[in-house]
């Protein structure tokens, strides 16, 4: 039994526990225990990983396990982690943990809600530990499908429309992805022999360039849809706006990272030549995402729409940096995934808490909330400052690594695009300060709001944990950037070959 398989096993046991649980108390007990175990486990894996590396273990993936699953197609259940997956596992477990606290008072049908929530977690964790394309794809789908129900049943506003739109668009991406993965599979043994789904084995052999040209765009766009790649990002504003709090958190915080991670792990890692050839097209698209998302966010009036567009911009930067194909920029991309995951989860958590009190998300109908709920207000300001890249919070280190890394490219085209992307830091400041000014400062707009209360203890847990993580990365970024950068070395080697 591999250590990593616990990441799948624990949520499965949580499902079992939930099924047997009676009443809200037991449901919460199951969820908190499970989420804490997952959080603990991810730190155990982190500790194990760092100590293995310190001891000089240079294997590409650690904690590997491999079981034959379906012999005729050579499909395995194969797991293993490198620094990037470890970072993603920590992110996911932090957000699952805080998501449980953010949906403490789930109503109606809490049991069913948490069942789907756990199933989604199975998919997410399974995806990040998989090194077999097929199991990876399977976990990916497992993570997507609960979304439909979570939004459609527990959402708000135009929830059926949003749920349908989101699912259809992501399924469209999956369709491309499936073709891409099959394509990779059938070109995994260019010199003869058995085809394989194992990522590490495929990377050993060079896929024929013709096949790469065909399947790189398919996989990149397939994953890119989930990573809010322009122009396939429009599921995001509607989806986020309609989703319940913890689902928004998990979706923006973790699911969108599946896209970036997949682009990197599958599209670029396995098809580096095509990536180099075709990256310019996607660089243009992601460059547009970065600026376009930020400008769109400037004029939104719904808090969730603002953050959804802000996510388009920030996740655009992730894909942008990945496509720069150098170690520093890619390190920045992974740090940006981590950072964006944490701060956007914090944003959505706070928006959910504010919405739960004021029953509106329209910034024109709110004002002066800082005086009424100082804790939530301060949390929102910190999230905002992280988002606009204040040093000392995670956004800054991630963005700066991306910008400096991207600017090291020898090609002028890439450097010019980098400069275009840097303009987003100003636009981000504009929309963040606009919201903070309207929502929190100034005078109270609605007198009924004066009677509202500040955060409860469980809300405080969620907010404090996320802020602590954001500050930790922002203050001491070196170890995490070294961990990620070290794992990227083989990829960069692959690119230079």
């Amino acid at each position: 039994m591999s250590l990593l398989s616990l990441f799948v096993l624990i949520p499965l046991l949580m499902l079992l526990g939930l099924w047997m649980a009676q009443g809200m108390k037991q449901i919460r007990a199951v969820m908190v225990t499970g989420a804490s175990l997952l959080l603990g486990l991810s730190f155990v894996v982190l500790g194990g990983y760092l100590s293995e590396r310190a001891a000089g273990n240079t294997a590409e993936m650690l904690f590997m396990a491999d079981t034959m699953w379906f012999a005729p197609l050579n499909i395995h259940y194969a797991v293993g982690v490198d620094g990037i997956s470890v970072a993603m596992l920590i992110l996911s477990s932090l957000i699952v943990f805080t998501g449980v606290f953010a949906s403490w008072k789930m109503d109606p049908m809490p049991k069913e809600f948490f069942l789907w929530f756990c199933l989604l977690s199975v998919g997410v964790f399974g995806f990040f530990i998989s090194i077999d394309l097929f199991t990876m794809f399977m976990f990916y789908e497992v993570a997507l499908i609960p979304m439909y129900l979570l939004i459609g049943v527990w959402g708000t506003g135009k929830k059926e429309y949003a749920a349908m739109k989101l699912t259809l668009m992501l399924m469209g991406g999956s369709a491309l992805l499936l073709v891409g993965i099959l394509g990779i599979y059938f070109h995994s043994a260019p010199e003869g022999g058995t085809y394989t789904m194992n990522i590490l084995e495929i990377a050993q052999n060079q896929m024929p360039i013709g096949a790469q040209r065909l399947f790189f765009p398919l996989t990149f766009v397939g994953f890119g849809v989930l990573g809010a790649l322009f122009p396939f990002h429009t599921w995001s504003p509607d989806g986020h706006a309609s989703a319940p709090t913890s689902v928004s958190m998990l979706h923006a915080g973790v699911l969108m990272k599946l896209g970036g991670y997949g682009c990197f792990r599958v599209a670029i890692f396995l098809m580096p030549e095509a990536a180099q050839e075709l990256s310019w097209i996607f660089l243009l698209l992601t460059g547009i995402s970065v600026v376009y998302g930020a400008f769109s966010a400037c004029v939104q009036t719904d808090l969730k729409y603002i953050n959804a567009y802000s996510s388009v911009s920030h996740c655009g930067l992730v894909l942008f940096a990945i496509l720069m194909l150098n170690q520093t920029a890619m390190t920045g991309a992974v740090m940006q995934m981590l950072s964006h995951g944490l701060m956007t989860a914090l944003f959505f958590a706070l928006i959910g808490m504010i919405y739960g009190r004021t029953h509106t998300r329209d910034i024109r109908e709110m004002g002066g909330l800082m005086k009424i709920m100082p804790f939530l207000g301060v949390g929102y300001v910190i999230a905002g400052l992280a988002s606009l890249g204040l040093p000392g919070l995670s956004g800054f280190v991630a963005e700066m690594t991306v910008f400096v890394g991207s600017f090291q490219h020898d090609d002028t085209f890439h450097r010019v695009l980098t400069i275009v992307a840097t303009t987003s830091i100003v636009i981000t400041a504009v929309y963040i300060l606009r919201v903070v000014g309207k929502l929190l400062y100034g005078s109270v707009v609605n007198q009924n709001h004066l009677a509202l209360t500040d955060a409860t203890w469980f809300e405080r847990v969620a907010v404090v944990v996320l802020i602590a993580a954001i500050v930790a990365i922002g203050v001491a970024p070196l170890w995490i950037s070294n961990m990620i950068g070290g794992s990227l070395a083989p990829v960069v080697e692959q690119l230079l070959k």
């Binding site: 429009t234 204040l390 000392g392 700066m400 090291q408 400041a429 929190l440 070196l478 950068g485």
Partner: protein
């Protein structure tokens, strides 16, 4: 010599910030204020010890060598490029440590009285500590990226402090404006850093300013629109400096920033943060001088224009804090000009030294002016001149200290401003008589508007105050800082500044330039004389006549030549209405519309073909027969 204790200068304010920020509300307001001020007193002492130790170190070949007591890697980009955090002690950073801690300590003490009874007193002290920490971190930076980090942090501290009265819409708008304008300028700074580091492969100040030409070897021959790439890089960095130091046309945030509490204006928007731009140009001076002399000229021109513009505007403002704000902009212009006209070696580096000297003296007397203005505002509950007048009797200490500061800024000997301004003017005259002439004229304007302010506050016609609200002198914890700063303004001019700070690190002995000194004093006296005639009694009709006669000019100057309106137009009209809105519309209606259209057509299509699966056997049989018939026909005929 080991100077590891210098780390404490940074750490103590940070710890205070965390303490007051996290658990500040557990303390009483008084305790929080005392903690903040006490810690700052310790920090100031440490800074003085550091300065003493540093300047008493022996010179190496006549040059003061920098000391780096601490430097560690904070974030790794590539093998060459990594952000280090560290402490660099050299003449200018040590001088800044002294300036920042002194003014900050005075402001901390003063605020005990000024902010008494304010809601959020603990928060105020937490933010002051955060600001002090960030500003100190900025000046001791060992590399340009560290500067950028702390640059952003002072920006956010300034944002938080301007918006301290967050329920007041003007304060919120002003804080937002300050942050966004400087953020825009920082974009230039960031791109400048990217360019500079790409071509030199280093962030380190030590490498960049070493004078070693090989650092810039990679950039040789790389040009863009006629300028060398290094010139572009440092010009972009100067945009960042212009934003922070409120140079035209990025100055618009500073007058609005006066919405913050007055002690904050004294600390951040007069003495320390706004001179960060000057400091950074000085820090990178060798790069500017050797690699991009044309940019230095640009800096001088921008500085001179800003200085003139702000001085003219200051002459007609009626809000006393705004007069001081424009005066600050004008004085920073002086410092920029001095750097712009400076050379490197020996006496040619006079401008550099004069700039730093003026930075030092200006910090003291301008902080004094703002703190004095705070005491006045506290007494009359208004910023407008018309509610003041005749205050010299009710507020004798404030009056005297304010007068000293006015004399200092006007350049009257023996007050500190005379010496530093005189050296700036001397450097300007050496550069070009034109520059010297313009700057002398601005110096005269300075004396004029300062004394216009002074007479309107302390002489003129006393305003009518409600009974029971008569103005009275500020409490001791507010007047003591005034007295201390006034004392410094009296004696600081006699510091042999060139002995401590100079462009090339060698000792620079300066002597008064007789002709320049006499001219500048004479014109300052004339300007003060005019102001006396016009404003002392407050009944002279000439100012009103002049305002009427030159109505257009007066109105334009009062409205700051409509620069703000122009920005308003650009941001609201262009960015919001012509960029953001269309993009948002495009996203909802074109991109999303296309997807919805796709979904809609899929649905229509499925409705359309639904009829084919009706489940009626007769219909199927009919279609089957028809199909067979068609095939038969096709086979036979084709």
């Amino acid at each position: 010599m080991s100077m590891e204790y210098a780390v404490l200068i940074l750490l103590l304010p940070l710890v205070t910030f965390l303490l007051l920020g996290l658990v500040g509300t557990r303390f009483s307001a008084r305790t929080a204020g005392l903690i903040g001020s006490g810690v700052l007193a310790v920090v100031a002492c440490l800074a003085y010890v550091t300065a003493w130790n540093y300047f008493s170190m022996p010179r190496v070949e006549g040059v003061r060598v920098p000391v780096v007591p601490l430097n560690f890697e904070w974030l790794h980009f590539t093998d060459q490029l990594h952000i280090d955090l560290g402490i660099l002690l050299d003449p200018i950073s040590v001088m800044m440590l002294v300036v920042i801690t002194t003014v900050s300590l005075m402001v901390h003490l003063y605020s005990l009285g000024y902010m008494k009874g304010e809601r959020g007193f603990q928060r105020y002290y937490a933010f002051l500590s955060l600001f002090t920490f960030s500003m100190l971190g900025l000046v001791v930076a060992t590399n340009i990226f560290q500067t950028y980090i702390f640059w952003e942090l002072v920006g956010v501290s300034s944002y938080l402090l301007i918006g301290f009265y967050y329920t007041k819409p003007e304060a919120v708008a002003a804080s937002k404006k300050a942050f966004i304008v400087t953020r825009f300028a920082d974009l230039g700074f960031l791109i400048g850093i990217l360019l500079l580091s790409y071509f030199t492969g280093t962030f380190s100040f030590e490498r960049l300013t070493s004078g070693d030409a090989s650092v810039f070897a990679d950039a040789a021959g790389v040009t863009f629109l006629g300028g060398s790439v290094i010139a572009w890089a440092v010009a972009l960095i100067f945009i960042g400096c212009a934003g922070k130091s409120a140079m035209f046309p990025l100055h618009i945030w500073l007058p609005d920033a006066m919405e913050g509490p007055t002690p904050v204006s004294a600390l951040i928007h007069a003495a320390t943060m706004v001179v960060a731009g000057v400091y950074l140009v000085a820090r990178l001076f060798p790069v500017y001088f050797f690699q991009a002399p044309e940019v230095l000229v640009m800096i001088a021109v921008v500085g001179a224009f800003t200085s003139l513009y702000a001085a003219v505007v200051a002459c007609v403002q009626t809000d006393i804090k705004r007069v001081l704000a424009f005066s600050t902009i004008s004085q920073i212009g002086f410092m920029m000009v001095a750097l712009g006209v400076s050379g490197m070696e020996g006496h040619e580096g006079l401008g550099y030294m004069a700039s730093m000297f003026h930075l030092f003296t200006h910090a003291m007397f301008k902080a004094l002016l703002f703190l004095g203005a705070g005491a006045i505002i506290h007494a009359v509950h208004s910023n407008e001149m018309k509610y003041m007048g005749g205050l010299r009797r009710q507020m004798p200490i404030t009056h005297l200290t304010f007068l000293i500061a006015c004399l200092a800024i006007s350049g009257i000997p023996p007050f500190s401003g005379f010496f530093s301004k005189d050296e700036i003017l001397a450097a300007c005259f050496e550069f070009s008589p034109w520059m010297g002439g313009i700057m002398s004229f601005i110096a005269a304007l300075t004396a004029f508007y300062m004394f216009r302010l002074y007479y309107n506050i302390f002489w003129a016609q006393p305003a009518v105050h409600e009974p029971g609200h008569e103005p009275h002198e500020a409490p001791a914890n507010m007047t003591i800082p005034l007295v201390i700063l006034a004392a410094i303004s009296c004696v600081a001019g006699f510091i042999p500044f060139g002995h401590f700070v100079s462009a090339d690190g060698q000792s620079l002995t300066t002597h008064l330039e007789g002709s320049v000194a006499v001219t500048s004093v004479v014109i300052a006296c004339v300007a003060i004389g005019i102001a006396t005639v016009l404003y002392r009694k407050g009944t002279n009709p000439v100012p009103a006549h002049l305002a009427e006669r030159f109505k257009g000019l007066h109105k334009a100057a009062y409205h700051r030549f409509y620069i703000d309106e122009f920005y308003q137009f650009v941001t609201h009209r262009i960015i919001f209405r012509y960029i953001s809105r269309p993009i948002a519309w495009f996203d909802r209606h074109v991109i999303d519309g296309a997807l919805n259209g796709l979904a809609w057509s899929a649905q229509r299509l499925s409705y359309a073909i639904r009829g084919l699966q009706s489940g009626q056997i007769q219909q199927y049989a009919y279609v089957f027969l028809l199909g067979t018939l068609i095939i038969v026909v096709l086979v036979l005929w084709v």
